[in-house]
Amino acid sequence: MSNQIIQGILLGGYYALIACGLSFMFSVMRIINLAHGSLAVFSAYALWWLASRFHISPFVGLIIVLPLMAAIGWALQRFLLDRSARGGALLPILTTFGLAIVIDNLLFEQFGADTRSLAPYIGSLSYDSWEWPGSIYVGKLAVIMFVTAVILLGGLQLFLTRTRLGRSIRATSEDPDTAGLVGVDARRANAIAAAIAMVTVGLAGAFLGMRATFDPYAGAPQLLFAFEAAVIGGAGSLWGTLIGGIVLALAQTLGAQVHPQGFLIGGHAVFLVVLFVRLSASGLGLRGLLRLPSRETS
């Protein structure tokens, strides 16, 4: 049992990592990025390509791929999101939905349907583990992911609240016009934010590729978990995303304890429960629900 809990917490780190870029864009830039998963898979392919073609270890490959992702983020913001965000909050959903389809299918066109993984290029790291007393096995890769998630999310949280640039980014997300009036270059702030988001997406892709396998269409399935982690954690808080990831993963592993099908069901259920509890805390939930009938009768 304690093994399952530890596995659950570590899995939470993975979810948080996957959700990081999404949460960042969702809470800071107010963009529901449906292309999140596809972009992560793109990064995984880039690393795979470097590894299989030039024998560059994926960890080293990150030195090339992360700047590339940052550039992509910058360009994405400049040429697509900036423009479509002006047309209302919904339009970026359409843009990123379209983008996701385009990326998936171009990846297919380029790399075919074969299943790939980065694991073969990192030696035995993908399944190495430390054995702790009580036959608890702690995967090395899982620990690396967890630590990365903590550093990444914590660092971003501090960046957003403690630095001038971070504040500029938040201000821009709230109201770009007014941000301009207080001296913030809104376009630049947004583009930097997108670049940062894409770097985290790049990392997510790397770990996705090391932990499991991917193919051109592997992005979408990751999306819902990432959204769940981000929403459980609460909008506007990146630390929350880490907690969200862990809560989600624990619910899943404990759900699986009951029955293997409980894995996904447990995760979804806890998501709804968290929302419900949060509503109750704000006076809108249970009490509001119960008050409802009386409201309708007047």
């Binding site: 529901i32 697509l80 970026p92 389809i101 979804h268 309708e296």
Partner: protein, 354 residues
């Protein structure tokens, strides 16, 4: 205050909109007799088009008018199909089951709305998605469905293919017409104004006496019912029920595509968007990867260059309103002919239904 009421007139329709109303009636009449002349393939495709129109109109009602952006509407699509299969398996006539299923979906959506409608914005959108995923998993537990294996609505096979095709066509046409008419009536009436008010500012709407929750629920349930019917109809045309297919988020993605390409928040836009999607699929669907790339690119290009969608742009450019739901005040000063009683001339759906 009535004493001070001026000679101003509230206009609902325009000359074009009256012509449009007649045109709509004619088109629907033509569509009703179409199976006599169309090829079997065309009848099947038209049925799909009607279903797309329902989906687009329902999502548009929810998001475009009600501000309720959901990424989980596939839950009702899936449930529509699932209940139809369940009811048919219980011995109900399969055609009847389609309609009954829509009602069941509508009923199911009521308790769901109690919880979901309290969520805001992103949380509502994602929350609906999670509901869809969860419902999918629960449907998978049904022995009849056998997990992802699914099952088929083979009880339809007792009808010969011609009858079945025409019947489903008419059912789809009738459902679409009725749903659009209900929606139009709703949006044109004072409820419609309330819906748009809630979209713009919920607190303010509550403070001027709009029943926020009740109104949202009405819209939510209507959309659930409509999409449920669409799901059931889709099942009738394709027979195979594999849960994964019906509970796929792709359905909602298509709804979003249709609505935003057509023009969100306009009644005509959703219909136009469905038509565009349908045509793209019909013409380019065979080109495989490039069809999908093109579909994605279309979405991106529209969001960049026609952010208000086709109809939104047309409306803006030409001031064209075929099925208007808004109100315009013609000030007394401009009304030389001094028509004082408001709203004598309306493009109502009563005419269209006739």
């Amino acid at each position: 205050m009535s004493a001070s009421a001026p000679m101003s007139v509230i206009e609902r329709g325009t000359a074009t909109s009256r012509i449009a109303a007649i045109a709509v009636a004619v088109i629907i009449a033509l569509l009703a007799i179409a199976p006599q002349v169309l090829s079997a393939g065309a009848v099947d495709r038209m049925t799909a088009l009607f279903i797309y129109v329902i989906l687009a109109a329902m999502w548009n009602a929810l998001a475009g008018f009600g501000g309720l952006v959901s990424v989980g509407q596939q839950v009702f699509f899936g449930l529509g199909a699932y209940f139809a299969i369940r009811l048919a398996d219980a011995g109900l006539n399969p055609f009847l089951a389609l309609f009954a299923s829509g009602i069941v979906v509508g009923v199911v959506s009521i308790p769901l709305s109690l919880f979901m409608l309290r969520l805001r914005n992103g949380e509502f959108a994602i929350g609906m998605w999670v509901i869809a995923a969860l419902t999918h998993l629960l449907v998978n537990l049904d022995r009849l469905v056998q997990g992802e294996t699914g099952t088929s609505l083979i009880s339809l096979n007792v009808y010969d293919s011609g009858t079945r095709r025409a019947t489903i066509y008419w059912l789809a046409l009738a459902s679409m017409t009725a749903l659009l008419a209900i929606l139009f009536g709703l949006l044109r009436g004072s409820t419609g104004a309330a819906i748009r008010a809630i979209r713009d500012n919920e607190d303010a709407a509550a403070s001027v006496g709009v029943r926020v929750t009740g109104t949202k629920r009405l819209l939510f349930v209507l959309a659930a019912f409509g999409i449920g019917i669409a799901g059931a109809l889709w099942l009738a045309t394709s027979i195979t029920f594999q849960p994964k297919t019906y509970f796929n988020v792709q359905w909602t993605a298509y709804m979003i595509f249709m609505v935003l390409v057509g023009g969100i928040g306009t009644f005509e836009g959703a219909i136009l968007g469905a038509l565009v999607f349908f045509l793209i699929e019909t013409w380019f669907g065979g080109t495989g990867v490039w069809y999908l790339v093109g579909l994605g690119a279309t979405a991106v290009l529209f969001s960049l260059f026609l952010p208000r969608g086709l109809w939104g742009t047309i409306e803006e450019r030409f001031g064209l309103r075929l099925l208007p739901v808004g109100y315009r005040v013609r000030l007394a000063a401009d009304t030389a002919d001094g028509e004082a009683t408001p709203s004598p001339q309306q493009t109502t759906m009563h005419q269209e239904k006739a």
